[in-house]
Amino acid sequence: MSLPWHDHADALPPPRTLADVAARLRARAVLMSHTAGTPHLGSCLSCADIVAAAYWRVLRLDPQRPEAPERDRFILSKGHAAVTLYAALAHRGFFPASRLATYNGNGDALAEHPGPGCAPGVEAATGSLGHGLPMALGMALAGRIQGRNHRVYALLSDGECNEGSVWEAAMLAPAQRLGNVCVIVDYNKWQATGRSDETLALAPLRDKWASFGWSAHEVDGHDPDALAALMDRLPDGSGRPVALIAHTVKGKGVSFMEDDNNWHYRIPKAEEAAAALKELGQEAMLAATPMVRA
């Protein structure tokens, strides 16, 4: 069985597995970072399996009706991984994948962080950390008031858990018994300038969320099938919101980027991007993409 993949010039066969989807999202992120010269690639790569699981397995969405009131919501609270979200939305069919080619150009709607209404399927503007979860709670409470049972997912970074507003929201959600809210923390162990567990005392992260009243689980953040199974089990019957602590590797999928925090800001050169796509098994995408940045 193949999965949907809306293409433009790549002429790729449809993917068969979530892992294949994630590899393609990673390759697309590398190319967009290279072409547009934009940073945060390590963070874009660490969350690719989570995003693939969400958009290709979990979320009840119709790309043809992106504003359907009953849709599930996915908020990329770690807005600096916008490229992964844009790639997912485009290749899932929310907008033409050709739009990715002009990403971050002067006057283009797709910027380094997602703006409000910048593209179909983008639920909220993010970029300043600690904003996505409170907005997600508002959307979940709205669903309750309006008699809808949509689910709301918020993808946070571990560095983002530095923000006090995350923990304000973390206390409110169980108090309101928001069992249709799921937080996924992309726990790649780095933030912009240091180890996340050393910058602020983040660990034990699962225990923190559990002690705040969440149904908290640790999961391999690079096992999209395991992620999808946990994300889809929402509400999980406990009456509590769900927190998934997804253990990930920053820069995952490209050996010379993995766990190297220089790739928080570095932009891949043409030969680095080419090597990354080969390692990701995306030679076909590489062949279809002109390399412009030496």
Partner: protein, 313 residues
């Protein structure tokens, strides 16, 4: 004013199922009638204002009309970035209500004063800023705010403020000043609960033979530019009066407007501008609201004295 707010929001929530009230753990018993009428649309968001504003934005993006309420500095400066990003950037129709604005909580100390809130919120793109003068204007402003398709900040007082109007002003509209008394010599433009002080000022000036126009310029953004054009063209002096810093509030907005008029096309200005507000300092002493106003020269005597001298020149 807060009782009028609580009563009016209860009525509006009864009439519109999209209305939601969020409170930052204040208003003990105040919202009991609301909670009885619409329990599923009331949330005590706790002492967590950033999350409260984010939630309100999420609700607005889902088609609801949330109203978020707590003490002014905590719902403005405390969570300014949430207002900027979650509300204004999304053009989300959230009504933000600050209670005890200006020096309304004078005796609680400067942590609870808000003489900078309008400056901050006025600078946010798309934000409407309204400072109702009395309980009647609170009702009118809340109705207008919920009918407005965009973010609105309502800067209200506390309780027991003197009334200026005798009922809900039927001609209340966002961006349109309410002329309380007409005149043609000195024009007093007041925003918020200081309006009764401006009214007393007008009485003192009239005793000295001046003809005084008194305006409730409740909407500080967007300004009533037609009223300003008329006032600056016809009057000898125009004064702004507010319980807010001279930096960035009503007086700041009017001065900006005056400076930015196109000198080639705008009608000539006759009036001198005088601005009355709080100085660039915190209040470090205890006292009631009247004491705090006097500290900043916001009394009818002080204002009338300066204006009489100005208009006589």
């Amino acid at each position: 004013m807060r009782n009028a707010f609580a009563d009016e929001i209860t009525r509006l929530a009864g009439a519109d199922p999209r209305v939601v009230l969020l409170s930052g753990d204040i208003g003990n018993r105040l919202f009991d009638p609301y909670k009885a009428a619409a329990p599923e649309r009331f949330f005590n968001a706790g002492v967590a204002e950033a999350n409260m504003i984010g939630m309100a934005a999420g609700m607005a993006l889902s088609g609801l009309r949330p109203v978020a309420y707590t003490i002014t500095p905590f719902i403005t400066t405390r969570c300014l970035e949430q207002i900027r990003v979650d509300v204004c950037y999304h053009r989300a129709p959230v009504v933000i209500v600050g209670v005890g604005s200006g020096l309304g909580y004078a005796s609680l100390g400067a942590t609870h004063h808000s003489c900078e809130d309008m400056a901050f919120l006025r600078a946010l793109p798309g934000m409407t800023v309204i400072a109702p003068a009395d309980a009647w204007e609170v009702r009118a402003a809340l109705r207008a705010a919920l009918a407005h398709d965009g973010p609105v900040y309502l800067r209200i007082g506390k309780k027991g403020e003197p009334q200026v109007h005798t009922g809900v002003p039927t001609d209340f509209a966002i961006g349109r000043g309410l002329v309380v008394d007409e005149g043609d010599g000195i024009c007093l433009l007041a925003a918020g609960t200081i309006l009764p002080v401006a009214r007393d000022t007008a009485a003192l000036l009239r005793d000295q033979g001046f003809s005084v126009r008194l305006v409730s310029l409740h909407t500080v953004k967007p300004l009533d530019t037609a009223l300003l054009e008329d006032s600056f063209a016809r009057f000898r002096a125009v004064a702004t009066v507010e319980e807010h810093s001279l930096i960035g509030g009503l007086g700041g907005a009017v001065a900006e407007w005056l400076a930015d008029r196109d000198p080639l096309t705008a009608p000539p200005v006759r009036a001198r501008l005088a601005r009355f507000g709080t100085r660039d300092e915190f209040l470090h002493t205890a006292g009631k609201q009247g004491y705090a106003r006097a500290h900043f020269g916001l009394t009818a005597d002080a204002i009338a004295g300066r204006l009489a001298a100005l208009a006589a020149v």
